[in-house]
């Protein structure tokens, strides 16, 4: 949807949305397709307040060096299916060749409305000393009935699953306070039912 090739670009309050509704009503089963929300190949690119919603491949693909992100949120595609899940797409993918990247306050949530599927990881990044995530989280927002767990891990293989706590005993959110080069500090898990998130 947006392609940043140049260096030293600042994105400030950018919302990249694949619509889940249009003039004809609900968008279902892969209609109105969008592959990637944001693609960054330029160096020294910074994003403040970045949102990417419902796009159907990796929602952010960052291959430029020295990217900085402050506040990111993403909704995994509401109409994802088993093919999507098997492809291992993430909300936020840092290319394996990147050596320096900083992501701060970044979250992704699931609302799989059509299929019972599970994402592999919300964030996928290379294990390098200069690639650092601070305060990353995932949230099971909701989904079709009988959805059990929806996102297997927060970053790579760290953070653990989120899912339907009321019915199945999974925590609904998972936090990773710090992650770099395979080392992590996990946060507390929350078990508050989703409905109460909106009441607080």
């Amino acid at each position: 949807m947006m392609t940043i090739i140049g260096g030293n670009v600042v994105l400030d309050n950018v919302w990249l949305w694949r619509g889940d509704k249009d003039a004809l009503g609900a968008v279902t089963a892969g209609a109105n397709p969008v592959d990637v929300g944001l693609s960054v190949s330029g160096k020294n690119v910074t994003a403040y307040g970045l949102s990417v919603e419902n796009t159907q491949k990796n929602q952010v693909e960052w291959s430029g060096e020295n990217g900085n992100v402050w506040q990111f949120q993403a909704t995994l595609p509401f109409d994802g299916n088993t093919t999507w899940a098997a492809s291992g797409y993430s909300a936020y993918l840092v290319d394996q060749a990147v050596t320096t990247h900083s992501a701060n306050g970044v979250g992704a949530y699931s609302q799989f409305s059509e299929n019972i599927i599970k994402a592999t990881a919300a964030f996928t990044a290379p294990d390098a000393v200069g690639v650092v995530f601070s305060n990353a989280y995932t949230l099971f927002l909701g989904g079709i009935s009988n959805q059990i767990d929806s996102i297997a891990n927060v970053i790579n293989s760290v953070g653990g699953p989120v899912g339907n706590d009321v019915k199945k005993g999974f925590t609904q959110s998972a936090y990773v306070c710090h992650y770099s080069n395979g080392q992590s500090i996990l946060g507390e898990t929350a078990t508050t039912p989703v409905e109460e998130y909106f009441l607080q």
């Binding site: 949807m1 947006m2 392609t3 940043i4 090739i5 140049g6 260096g7 030293n8 670009v9 693609s39 190949s41 330029g42 160096k43 020294n44 430029g64």
Partner: protein
């Protein structure tokens, strides 16, 4: 050389090329640009200091695939310190 869009819908069948240093493209009232033929709506060429704000970019109703709505820069790593 700056461009200000008044509120409204602007259906573009060609790409708006931003090719001057320090050029400003500003939308008022969340002016909307729509790509009718599947071309990028805005392309910033290899220039510096450009600012773009206040716009909503969207694809048209046609089934033509749009490669991207906003493309910033052309060749990565060119210029001093990878400036563009």
């Amino acid at each position: 050389m700056h461009v200000v869009f008044a509120p409204g819908m602007y259906r573009l069948n060609a790409t708006l090329s931003v090719s001057h240093n320090n050029q400003v493209i500003l939308g008022l009232g969340l002016a909307t640009l729509e790509s009718t033929l599947g071309l990028p709506l805005i392309h910033v060429t290899n220039v510096e200091g450009v600012r773009i704000a206040g716009l909503l970019l969207q694809t048209g109703a046609s089934l033509v695939t749009t490669s991207t709505l906003l493309e910033w820069g052309t060749n990565a790593g060119l210029g001093v310190d990878g400036n563009w």
